[in-house]
């Protein structure tokens, strides 16, 4: 039973379709997870995209139930099975952000910032957003913006969270390491960033070999 604090994120950068006459729909789809370029069939690709969340409603934290429902809406046959298979293959991760799953996930993945940081704005000096000017804007908290902008320079998300925690003025909650708190907040908010295309998770340390 997934924890109510679980979030779902897809792993990899979408490289687009390649024509394949024998494939269903005439195309296969490539996803670069940071170590391997995977070739997905149409239903797998649609389910993987469904794990990104809904770009039309990027406010909700994305979980397995929403992923499966979105995959069904996208026409994926046996959506639950396809999503579970992607989770098993680590092309989609389900993370309980209140547990050590978070540390494991953050240590195994890096974050790519794919859009600019926007704001704060004269009319609201506490508002920060990430997006493409004039096209799309995703509200993001200050701590998450700090992680977002430094993350590309770190080997993995956990290292970025530790470094930001050392200098961030954010107060520490008793009994919860600051870097853990920052990572949990970022991961929760990152589902909106992933939905809008502003962030991509990829495997860190591919030299360590495939997931086991």
């Amino acid at each position: 039973m997934p924890s109510p604090d679980s979030v779902v994120v897809p792993i990899g950068l979408d490289l687009g379709p390649v024509a394949s006459p024998e494939a269903k729909g005439g195309y296969l789809y490539r996803v670069d997870d940071g170590g391997t370029v995977h070739t997905l069939h149409r239903d797998e690709y649609r389910a993987w995209r469904s794990a990104s969340g809904d770009p039309g409603a990027p406010g909700a934290v994305w979980d397995r139930r929403r992923t499966i429902a979105a995959a069904r809406r996208a026409g994926v046959w046996r959506a639950r099975r396809v999503v579970d298979d992607l989770i098993r293959r680590k092309l989609v991760w389900e993370i309980d952000i209140m547990s050590d799953d978070l540390v494991l996930f953050a240590g195994l993945h890096r974050v790519e910032a794919r859009m600019e940081v926007l704001g704060p704005f004269a009319e609201d000096p506490e508002a920060f957003e990430v997006g493409v000017p004039g096209v799309l804007r995703t509200p993001t908290s200050p701590d998450s913006v700090n992680i977002y902008l430094y993350a590309p320079t770190f080997d993995d998300l956990w290292a970025a969270c530790v470094a930001v925690a050392e200098v961030s003025p954010t107060e520490q909650h008793p009994g919860w390491p600051k870097e853990h708190m920052l990572a949990a907040v970022f991961l929760g908010e990152s589902t909106r960033l992933v939905a809008s295309g502003a962030a991509v998770y990829r495997r860190a340390h591919p030299e360590l070999g495939r997931y086991t």
């Binding site: 950068l13 490289l15 379709p17 039309g56 704001g119 000096p125 493409v132 590309p152 200098v167 003025p169």
Partner: protein
Amino acid sequence: MRAVYATGFPVGKYNAPGTPTQYRVRLGRDVHALDGVERFLWDAARAVGDPPEQFQDRATVVARHGDAMSRAVGLDLRNDAFFENADGAFERLAGLGLLVEVDVDPGRSDALSELAAAHTFRGLQVHAGPGPADQERVGAPGFPVHELSPAEHRAWTRADAAATLADAAAEAGGLVALLPQLHALMARGLGYLDRVVVQDDPISYVPVTVDVTR
């Protein structure tokens, strides 16, 4: 010829009460604050002409900067004082590493190799579906912004996957061939050059806080 490139990731426009607007740019693990003139100049170096130049030198960048600032304020600012000020801004940005000038003439490959080893290309925006003919759309899911040819799309994905510009150049026919392609992508907001960092380097502060008086 000495070609000019802008480096760094845009980190927003800061409007603190009673202070001039700042534009912040991250390069490696350093975040720099630019004033309006510096930001316009930095943007001018990111842009390309129409049609795009293979390489653009300092005079081209400064002239474009003069055109852009004149358009922005509705006055022709291109006088001696303006260009003197622009030269000063250019030197400040070059001192921070946010503008790099590199010799691209044949036989002067040392400087180019240095640039390639010290920088990496990071892609911006994501795949947004197939475009017309054999093009690929890039932007945000549901919001395609640009259409890339297969060659542009290849450069966008392959250079982004390489650890350094040198690695990217090795599989793209050399840096002199790759740089104009990457510059065209950067001008469309599809990537930036970042400084390769030593993993142990700390970060000195977090630039984004809700305290706008700092």
